[in-house]
């Protein structure tokens, strides 16, 4: 009987140890659902929803503008950037797991209602996990060609 209890104790120790190790690891899959949520929020002009997808320490590094930091400023940025009439599509995405972060890069096409061709550009992101949520920590992008002066600002991406 004592031998049985000891074996059970050993089994519990093993499981607890393995669980502890597992919880310290980042999942092996890029949080695609979160990235898809960003695109959905952008395409619906949901600036408040977009702001929720950034970490408290997040910084946006937009082209031809200073760095944007903080949830309020990020929400305001997106509100100005896309009031809801621009759609974005993502392609050629590559992801890398960097320790407890994810790095993502890719290309985007921004579709403006008055323009026949999308404005194409590239982006990079650094993602971090805050509690159970994957959020964007750094976000930078730029178009592949300068926008005509009379056109609205270039389109961001995730």
């Amino acid at each position: 009987m004592k031998g049985f209890q000891f074996a059970r104790w050993i089994a519990l120790m093993t499981l607890a140890s393995l669980a502890g190790c597992e919880s310290a690891k980042a999942p092996d899959q890029f949080p695609q659902a979160a990235a898809d949520g960003w695109v959905a929020a952008f395409n619906s002009g949901d600036a408040a929803g977009l702001a929720l997808m950034y970490s408290p320490e997040a910084k946006i590094l937009p082209p031809d503008q200073p760095i944007v930091s903080g949830a309020g400023a990020i929400e305001e940025f997106w509100k100005t950037f896309n009031p809801g009439n621009v759609r974005i599509e993502i392609s050629e995405v590559e992801t890398r797991k960097l320790g407890d972060h994810w790095f993502r890069e890719g290309t985007y096409g921004g579709l403006y209602p008055a323009e026949g061709e999308p404005r194409v550009g590239k982006f990079i992101e650094l993602w971090t996990r805050v509690d159970s949520a994957w959020l964007i920590e750094r976000h930078m992008w730029s178009p592949n060609a300068p926008p005509p002066a009379e056109m609205p600002p270039t389109v961001p991406v995730t």
Binding site: I10, S17, L61, D64, E105, K122, I124, L126, P143, A145
Partner: protein, 156 residues
Amino acid sequence: MIRASAIMLLAILFAGGCAQSPAPEPFPQDVADAWVQRFTSHDAAGVAALYTEDAQLLPPDMEVVSGRAAIQEFVAKTNPPGSPEFEFATVETLVFGNYAHRQGSFTAKGPDGQVVVTGKFIELWKKIDGKWLIHRDMWSSNAPPPATDTPPDEPA
């Protein structure tokens, strides 16, 4: 006695199996400093040598520049002797095993010392065969270019 030995053995095994990753090594600031030295002396080949073979520059208002040879050509074209003087600063670094992230800022000054452009950059570094190199390099200015002709943004 047997139980005590078993517990000690298990403790060692658990500790080893769940060992924390070793503390990350410092960011290779010496390589970043070498990049600045080569860039400011207009050594395009020397700058390109600090990128991985399949590195990419992601310049503003331009398409991605891929590969060391193309990077050398780009740097030679955009940073010839007589270009504005650039200063670079590291804002943050994160090292993840064989990769590292760096964010920084840059300032360019004209011949009269006046600031002509300020901007920011993000780099992804990769360690290959023990050597740290830049794998991705993206930058942009903090303001739209003036309407008049001005030098293009420089890589950071």
